[in-house]
Each structure stands twice: as C-alpha cells, then as structure tokens.
Amino acid sequence: MTAATPTVRRSSRAFVGKVVVWLVFALLFAYMTVQSVGNLVTVSQSVRAFNAFLGTTSGGDSLARSTPWVWLVLDIAIAPVAFVVALWVSRRARLAVTIGVFVLAFAAAGALWLDLQLFVPRLLDF
C-alpha cells in the first residue's frame, strides 16, 4: 500500500457521493418536469374544450380563451434549467457544497413552479 491510498479512497467516495446527489435530484427534477408536461396537456385540452363549447353557443366567441403557451413551456423548462445550473455551479465543489447547491436549486425551482401553478389558472379564469 502507498501513502496516497487514503486520499484516493476519500476522493472516490466523494465522487460516488456526488453521483448519488446527481441521481436523487435528477429524479426529483424529472418528476417536476413530468407534472409540468401534464399541466401543458391538461390546460391546452381544457382551453380547446372550452372554446369548442363557446362555438356551440350564440355570441360566445368573444369569451374564447387562448392557451398560455409561453407560461406552460416556461413551467416545463424550470426544472431542467435549474438542474443544469446546479450541475455547472457545483462542478468543482466539495460534496457538502454540492448538496447545498442542489437543495437550493430544487427549492428555487419549486418556488417558481408554485408561482406558475397559481398564475396560469388565473390567466384562464373559466
């Protein structure tokens, strides 16, 4: 055995720890993205159904709504962007800092995601 062995073991353990952090947060961000895609599908279907219903009424066309595509796409983009930014910021960081950065990225993405969950339905106001 050489004197460098403990250092190598420690650094490889830190790398494994970072991989675990990446995987756990990749799953959490992926779940957030899946929910956002679900929102896009549900909201666009609801708007289409609402407008189709208005088409069957007399003079209801003025109440037609448009799908808020920009906000729905932004909703989908939040999680992947947050994950990539966290990955970039913590690329040379220690394990503890990596965990802190990923928790913060998830919290910030979550705050933005909740903003949009509240904001998009207000735009439609069926």
């Binding site: 957030m32 800092v97 705050a111 909740l114 509240l118 904001f119 207000r122």
Partner: protein, 146 residues
C-alpha cells in the same frame, strides 16, 4: 534544421539574440529566469480576509430583503396550489411549499458559504438573482393592496 542566425556548431550565441540586456556580471542585470513575474490573482479572494464595509452593507440589504420574502412566503403557506391530485403529488407540493419558505434563507446562506472565495461583486450578483427568482408572487397574487 539550422537557421542562418545559429552558429554552425549548434551552440547558442547570445549576441545573436533579438535583444541583449547587457552583461550578466553587470550589477543592474536582471535575469528573468530567476525573477519570475508574479501576476495578481483576479478571479478569487482570500476566504479569510475580512469583508469590506460596502460588501457588508450589500449583504445586509439582501439579508433584509430575503427576510421579508420569508415572511411573505410564510403568509401564503395555506395557499392551495393544486386540487384533486394523487398522494405523491400532494406530498411533492407540500415539500415544495416548505422549501419555498426556507429558500430565501437557504439562498443567502449558500451564497455566503459556498462563495467565500469568490469576489464580492459576483456574490452580490448571485444575491440579486436570488431576489428575482424567489420573489413571493403568491403573496402578491392572493392579496389585494389598497
């Protein structure tokens, strides 16, 4: 390959150099090989160095702002974001609700802790980004002012 300036025997002839800075025995002679130029490091700062008063004021302002954000997120803690959803999504939203309350304090701490070696300006820019990202829109949307 032998160039026109090189002596035929391959030895280095200093007098053929483009510039000659004088005799090495001269008292004013400076040999660059033994006097390496030190370049001031611009990208980082000493983590142990005390903060400047400007930096302290900046961090104090953002700390106060983030405290207001925390209170605003806390006041909207009972806001209903989703309805008629499965258990997993309900738990997920509850976790996000909690994280959004602690996010301002977390952002402040992580920027100061993880960015110790960074320049003050870049840390203040990260603080500004946090102020934009974590703005408590649910508080503004669920309350009417005036």
């Amino acid at each position: 390959m032998t160039t026109a300036a090189s002596p035929p025997d391959g030895s280095v002839d200093h007098d053929d150099d483009a510039l000659s800075w004088g005799d090495a025995d001269d008292a004013t002679h400076v040999d660059a090989a033994h006097n390496p130029v030190t370049v001031k490091e611009r990208s980082g700062r000493d983590p142990e160095a005390p903060e400047t008063s400007g930096a302290l004021i900046g961090f104090g302002v953002f700390g106060g702002l983030y405290l207001l954000y925390t209170v605003a997120w806390l006041l909207t803690a009972s806001t209903s974001y989703v309805s008629d959803v499965d258990t997993v999504l309900t738990v997920f939203v509850e976790v996000l609700r909690f994280l959004s309350i602690v996010a301002p304090a977390l952002w402040f701490t992580v920027v100061l802790w993880a960015g110790r070696g960074q320049r003050t300006r870049s840390r203040l820019l990260w603080m500004l980004l946090g102020a934009l990202v974590l703005f408590p829109w649910p508080f503004v949307m669920t309350r009417s002012f005036g």
